[in-house]
Amino acid sequence: MSVTLQTEPFDPGELLSAFCQGRRETGGICSFTGLARAEAGQTRLLTLEAYPGFTDAAIAAMAQAAALRFDLQDWRIVHRIGPISPGEAIVFVATAAAHRRAAFEACDHLMDWLKSRAPFWKQEQGPAGSRWIEPTSQDLADASRWDRSAD
């Protein structure tokens, strides 16, 4: 159960292999790897800014709540910060549970939250210069699927 924010690229395969080690009571592990998209050449570089000590604490608190909600045995989140080139992995989420459904749903839930509500500030640099971007309406709608009031 840990979150890592790092400027260095990571290998999602290595992270997943490490997460799978030593589990005799886990029935299912679900993982998701998000890549930075080039947006048809419109994005040359993505830069993610975090507030160390605040961003990681918010992510950990959210993941711990999700672990209770979905009865997870374990979770792992790795998120890139700083400059990220198209094609590079930007986020890795893995969830472990006794049964597959909980692992799938918790992973989906964690990603929706990370994409829309995690305390990052994202800047896209493209041919027309750079701009700060905010969550899309689709990101917000995806995240709201999990709000308790909508249950």
Binding site: E49, A118, W121
Partner: protein
């Protein structure tokens, strides 16, 4: 002296990301910032800007100790 941090577009607007500013409350800190940079002062008043004191979100005024860390957070983009 409060340690003041700016993120995202607020840092671009200000031209700095971290600065030490003499202030004993959030209200006096905002006044000091506005006096030095009215555009930044106005941007910090925006309804979408959140304030974290020592890495905890707060609303309204707060007393600032000598080692206070104040962060002004524009709308979060998600990852």
């Amino acid at each position: 002296m409060a340690r003041v941090l700016l993120f995202g577009r607020l840092a671009d607007l200000a031209g700095w990301r971290e600065r030490r500013i003499e202030a004993d409350s959030l209200v006096s800190l905002r006044s000091a910032i506005s006096a030095a940079d009215p555009d930044l002062g106005e941007a910090l008043q925006g309804p979408s800007v959140q304030v974290a004191l020592d890495k905890v979100l707060v609303r309204g005024d707060r007393t600032l100790g000598p080692d206070a860390e104040v962060a002004f957070l524009p709308p979060m983009s998600g990852g």
